[in-house]
């Protein structure tokens, strides 16, 4: 399945000029808990999805109050730096949408 099957929000945004932060919010607590327990999202997985080094992933945080998981990583280019393509970092979420995985609900 894909995240779009079980998440209502998949978004990206700067967290300051040097970090990019991604949020996945699941459609309900049950799905979130299933996803969390399955251990599907790790630093290694996030690095693989984005084709970046594991060391560049700052954190993967499961945030129970919002049934959400947050991934934060170092931007390849600082906001507004030479060659930057997305000053606000608001359009970097699609690799998460395209990611395919197995989960028994």
């Amino acid at each position: 399945m894909k995240l779009t099957d079980i998440a209502t929000v998949i978004r990206s945004k700067n967290a300051g000029p040097f970090l990019l932060t991604l949020d996945i919010m699941f459609k309900d607590r049950f799905t979130y808990e299933k996803f969390k327990k399955a251990g599907l999202m790790t630093k290694e997985r996030a690095a693989d999805i984005y084709g970046i080094e594991v060391d560049d992933i700052q954190s993967v945080t499961f945030f129970d109050p919002a049934d959400a998981v947050k991934i934060t990583f170092t931007r390849p280019i600082v906001s507004g730096g030479l060659g930057d393509t997305d000053i606000y970092g608001a359009q970097q979420h699609v690799p998460l949408m395209n990611w395919e995985f197995s989960l028994n609900l």
């Binding site: 040097f18 970090l19 919010m25 984005y50 945030f63 934060t72 906001s79 507004g80 970097q92």
Partner: protein
């Protein structure tokens, strides 16, 4: 124990100048708030605004918002606090915003006590801290250098709640602050009144985005926050919006790297014990937010420095033969024009973005498929505007007529939507300082009070 049971804060809009519906604002004023606070800026729009001293919001928008807010505040006898005035909160931004306030006073014939709190840090102060090893990078690893300090046009520090508290103690009716920790203008007066810092700051963190934390979210609508003894309540002020447990909890994630620990100047807000409870009428109660003071006070420094001049040209490609070879063609053309600019490294001077391929995600793009058409944005950087113009012009004309292998369409490679095809975009700035400075005995954020008189 706070002197009163509850303290109400009206947040009119997510950024001063973004506007708000008058009906929502009127509903907010009917709640008899104790404070109107608003965030005036952000680093989100990139380094240009801090570097150039300009605002990313329009004068018209800021003036409209401020006129309504100040008039309502004075009428109700409650203070108005603005953080990060003018978009980036450096001296020219603060000046710009203060001039708008004075203009409003003149036009509306109102008088009040204005408190101005600059957020600038002198270069010698930063150099001294650097020499004493009191500066460390934030979210990156580049150590600060004397050169970066010297080249930055403005250096600002994010003030916490104390300078606002001083201004409130002095009886300022309108407070304009330079660069401020976003929740500070919201939380300061509540903390002064005896409410818990963790609650006040967490509520400020949500209120500074106004209705973005409600559902449906909006950056241009008013909300109300009510802090009580051991919790706070959020209330939307438009019938089309409400707060839900999820919308508020989700907002803790918004543009923050760590949702459980929100770092500020003298400590962090710990949300690990936070409870979000839905009440009637689209309100949400939040409890359990704790403020954890840090041993040392670290303030965030921000600076931007000039990085040359930019010229851009926009052009489309529809030819499938060229689209197929585009990566190598773009590189070949760079090689072709290199001899005309000896001594310049073309890779630092030319960026060609391919919209329809990897224009949005750049190096993070994994999709190999290109669209049936490509939009190119040619960007040239020069030490002067003339140099940038010349680089862009030569690259554009060389690419237009470049004879690549297998070319069928021999009359021209690019479709230009505009004449002139090249746009001189002016100065470019880069973030040069994004560091934490450990406070020693620096006297920062001096308050200046003046009586603004509208004749």
């Amino acid at each position: 124990m706070p002197a009163q049971k509850r303290f109400k804060i009206l947040s009119p809009t997510a950024i001063l100048g973004y506007g708000f519906p008058l009906n929502s604002f009127a509903r907010g004023m009917e709640e008899r708030p104790d404070l109107i606070a608003v965030d005036g800026g952000s680093t989100d729009p990139g380094p240009y605004y801090l570097g150039s001293g300009k605002s990313f919001t329009s004068k018209e928008g800021v003036k409209r918002d401020l006129a309504i807010i100040i008039e309502a505040g004075l009428k109700a006898g409650i203070p108005v606090a603005v953080g990060t005035a003018g978009g980036s909160g450096a001296a020219p931004h603060l000046q710009w915003c203060a001039d708008i306030v004075r203009e409003i006073a003149q036009e509306k014939k109102i008088s009040f006590k204005l408190g101005i709190i600059p957020g600038d840090v002198e270069k010698r102060t930063v150099k001294k801290a650097l020499a004493q090893n009191r500066i460390k990078p934030l979210d990156h690893t580049d150590l600060l250098t004397e050169t970066a300090i010297n080249e930055s046009t403005h250096i600002v520090a994010q003030m916490g709640i104390e300078p606002f508290i001083t201004a409130h103690e002095q009886g300022c009716e309108v407070i304009l602050a330079g660069r401020a920790y976003d929740p500070a203008p919201f939380a300061a007066l509540a903390v002064l009144m005896g409410y818990r810092k963790g609650l006040a700051l967490h509520m400020g963190k949500i209120l500074e985005c106004a209705a973005i934390a409600a559902t449906p979210g909006s950056g241009s609508d008013c909300v109300l926050g009510v802090v009580e003894q051991d919790s706070f309540v959020l209330k939307a002020l438009s019938p089309e919006r409400k707060f839900t447990r999820l919308s508020v909890a989700a907002h803790s994630l918004y543009e923050k790297s760590d949702p459980y620990h929100l770092h500020g100047p003298d400590g962090h807000i710990d949300l690990t014990q936070c409870r979000f409870t839905e009440l009637e009428e689209g309100m949400v109660r939040v409890s359990g937010s704790q403020f954890i003071p840090s041993e040392k006070t670290y303030i965030k420094l921000e600076g931007a420095c000039p990085a040359g001049f930019r010229t851009i040209s926009i052009a489309g490609i529809r030819d499938p033969v060229l689209i197929d070879k585009i990566d190598s063609v773009l590189k070949d053309v760079i090689q072709k024009i290199q001899p005309f600019f000896p001594g310049l490294n073309m890779n630092d001077r030319l960026q060609i973005r391919q919209y329809g391929a990897c224009g949005v995600m750049g190096v993070l793009e994994q999709e190999k498929q290109k669209g049936h058409e490509l939009g190119l944005v040619i960007e040239a950087l020069g030490d002067t505007q003339e140099e940038a113009d010349a680089l862009c012009s030569l690259y554009r004309s060389t690419l237009l007529h470049y004879g690549y292998e297998g070319r069928v369409a021999t009359a021209g490679n690019l479709a230009f939507p505009f004449s002139p095809s090249d746009l001189s975009a002016g100065r470019v700035y880069h973030f040069s300082i994004y560091h934490l400075m450990e406070i020693d005995a620096e006297e920062l954020f001096p308050l200046r009070c003046e009586t603004v008189r509208g004749n």
